[in-house]
Amino acid sequence: MTWSDTFLGVLKDNDVRLVSYVPDNVLTPLLKSVTTDNYFLSVGATREDEAIGTVTGAYMAGLRGAVMMQTSGFALLANALASLVMPYNIPAIMVISERGTLGEFNIGQALVARTMRPVLDTLGIVHHTLDDETRMRFVIDSSIKQAFATQAPVAFILSPLLTGGNPAALAKLKV
């Protein structure tokens, strides 16, 4: 089973049906299934904060959701997290493919990646970096259950150690 199959299986086990996303190369296997599997209701968003808004509305109306994005997209979220998700206690599930490290060619990605964990830590948002396929099922399943039980968001950062990173980006690094 691939990491993406494991991930989607855990979303299903926890009734997370709505997925709003802004596309990313590394997320391709997840998004391919999310947009073709009838279990999921997928919403292609134009910005990541829009996706957070949609998942927030859906949660309050009884439908659990996740937001999928890449590192630079997370950098758009500080206000939506600080003025919507946190004060209204919304268990938003965030799935972030990690750019900017372990073989990044784009300096913008490398710099913006440094803001991600400090923003999560500053807001007190639980986050887990997934870098090991053998342990990821337990980490995401238990953390999603905790998010809904405690009415708090959670972020899963998909490390290149798990996903193999962005092949196009790695190719650009070749000398």
Binding site: V43, G44, G53, T54, M60, G62, L63
Partner: protein, 204 residues
């Protein structure tokens, strides 16, 4: 300025919000955008299906889309200011493509950032929100011409016929109440109003 936009009457948000709320007889959900949009929604009389946004400027429509997708049998209305929708025009494209038949968006357009000191917004110049919405793919988008036209446009069931966007040219009057700044309470009451409360006996 388009002829359509030039030929309309300037209306009042407080008065029209009251007219709208009186029409909501099927427990429609209403998402009040940050600032005057939700202040006047609160001023029109609290309903259990009201959600008041106290931050996250620009996200009233995305939140309303989430509610509409989760409860397709319930009518959902987003109330948003022109400055707010300008902050996230992309959501109109998302809504157009998701085609939620139970979603109505109302844009209160005073051409300014009233609450921060009446600074001009792009909508006071070249930008026509109805044209933007149509271009994004929400074909049923139109300017409200006057009170009678507004009444005709909202004399319908909100759980079908969408997505619809109505833009209303309004005056510069500020909102007429202050929504209590208690987000967990707002969320809890809204979820009770939508039948999704986790509170059980605590809510009775």
């Amino acid at each position: 300025m388009s002829n359509e936009r030039a030929a309309i009457k300037t209306l009042n948000r407080t008065a029209l919000t009251k007219r709208l709320v009186r029409k909501l007889t099927r427990q429609e959900a209403v998402i009040g955008g940050i600032g005057n949009a939700n202040f006047d929604l609160f001023a029109a009389g609290h309903r259990p299906q009201n959600f008041y946004m106290l931050g996250s400027m620009g996200l009233a429509c995305p939140i309303a889309l989430g509610v509409a997708l989760a409860q397709p049998e319930r009518g959902v209305v987003a109330l948003e200011g022109d400055g707010s929708i300008l902050m996230g025009l992309g959501c109109l494209a998302t809504i157009a493509n998701m085609k939620p038949r139970n979603l109505t968006v109302i844009i209160w357009d005073n051409g300014m950032y009233q609450i921060t000191g009446k600074q001009q917004a792009a909508t006071s110049g070249m930008t026509d929100i109805v044209a933007v919405a149509r271009g994004a793919g929400i074909a049923a988008s139109e300017w409200v011409r006057d009170e009678a036209h507004f009444d005709r446009l909202i004399d319908r069931r909100f759980d079908d016929g969408g997505p619809i966007l109505l833009a209303v040219k309004i005056d510069d009057e500020p909102g007429n109440a202050q929504t209590p700044r208690d987000p967990p309470l707002i969320r809890s009451r809204f979820m009770k109003g939508l039948g999704t409360s986790r509170g059980g006996a605590l809510e009775t």
